[in-house]
């Protein structure tokens, strides 16, 4: 539901004059620069983030009229980003399938932390690549399970299960350290 209105803002702006289109693109730049930077790094830590974001925004500009408001705008822009990063790196799906947890502070360090947000921050750092992206799309971008399934090319049931597991893991960490 988050950013539901932006679908129509982008859709209508794409059919308006160039100044309105440019304003819409500026809105996209303001809203999506940081999330895109995170997503690009998660896809390819070696990628030149600024260059990729510029390319993504230029593509959005050139194809804004093709945007279908039946889909969330964020799904569209993340799909463009993913395809662009893959095109640059020649990545294939299998290379992204690994879900190994990243190295981070261990549980003893987490116990020392006082705020729940700090603990959650550590928890997110320790999630595997796929879980990390699922958590990003679900909790940061507010995408639906269907949208996440399309973006990550996995069944909706798997996405729901992973989201449930992420929530459960966090609850366990917060409950277990109190």
């Amino acid at each position: 539901m988050k950013r539901y209105w932006e679908r129509w803002k982008i859709f209508l702006s794409a059919r308006s004059n160039p100044q309105t289109r440019e304003r819409a693109l500026r809105y996209v730049w303001e809203e999506y620069c940081r999330p895109l930077a995170w997503y690009i790094r998660s896809l390819d830590p070696q990628a030149g983030v600024e260059d990729v974001i510029q390319e993504v925004l230029i593509r959005v500009w050139e194809h804004m009229a093709d945007y279908d408001p039946a889909w969330a705008f964020s799904t569209w822009i993340y799909t463009i980003t993913r395809n662009l990063v893959w095109k640059n790196t020649g990545t294939i799906w299998q290379e992204l399938d690994e879900n190994t947890p990243a190295a981070g502070p261990d549980i003893a360090e987490v116990v020392q932390m006082k705020s729940d947000n700090q603990k959650a921050g550590v928890y997110l750092e320790r999630l595997g690549n796929t879980d990390s992206r699922i958590a990003f799309f679900r909790f940061s971008e507010g995408l639906t399970y269907q949208d996440i399934a399309v973006l990550l090319d996995m069944p909706v049931g798997t996405v729901k299960y992973r989201v449930h597991a992420i929530r459960k893991g966090l609850k366990k960490l917060l409950g277990g350290t109190k």
Partner: protein
């Protein structure tokens, strides 16, 4: 849910520490005039809508002129009522009944 709220807040904080990306100026200077194509799209759409409206109006105005009932309606709609209209209306009633029987 509490865990969802915590995760949302944590993501917000996490994204704040991510680099801000390219400056707007460097993006805007790369924008091509291709965006102006939407003006053309808009104008083409407008012309199509206009053509549809004109054709529909034309059908409503021109096609009924074939029948006397339609002529009556055109007269009724196009000028203020006159004594002759009533007679013309009476004349058209049997025709309307005939249409129903068909």
């Amino acid at each position: 849910m509490k865990s969802d709220r915590i995760l949302q807040d944590t993501w917000r904080e996490k994204l704040q520490s991510v680099s801000a990306g390219p400056a707007w100026e460097s993006v805007s200077e790369r924008l091509t005039p291709q965006g102006r194509a939407t003006w053309r799209t808009w104008m083409v759409n407008g012309l199509v809508y206009l053509a549809v409206v004109v054709l529909t109006a034309g059908l409503f105005v021109a096609a009924p002129r074939e029948s006397s009932v339609a002529r009556l309606w055109v007269k009724v709609l196009s000028r203020t009522p006159a004594p002759g209209d009533e007679a013309l209306l009476q004349k058209s009633i049997p025709y309307m009944y005939k249409r129903r029987e068909l």
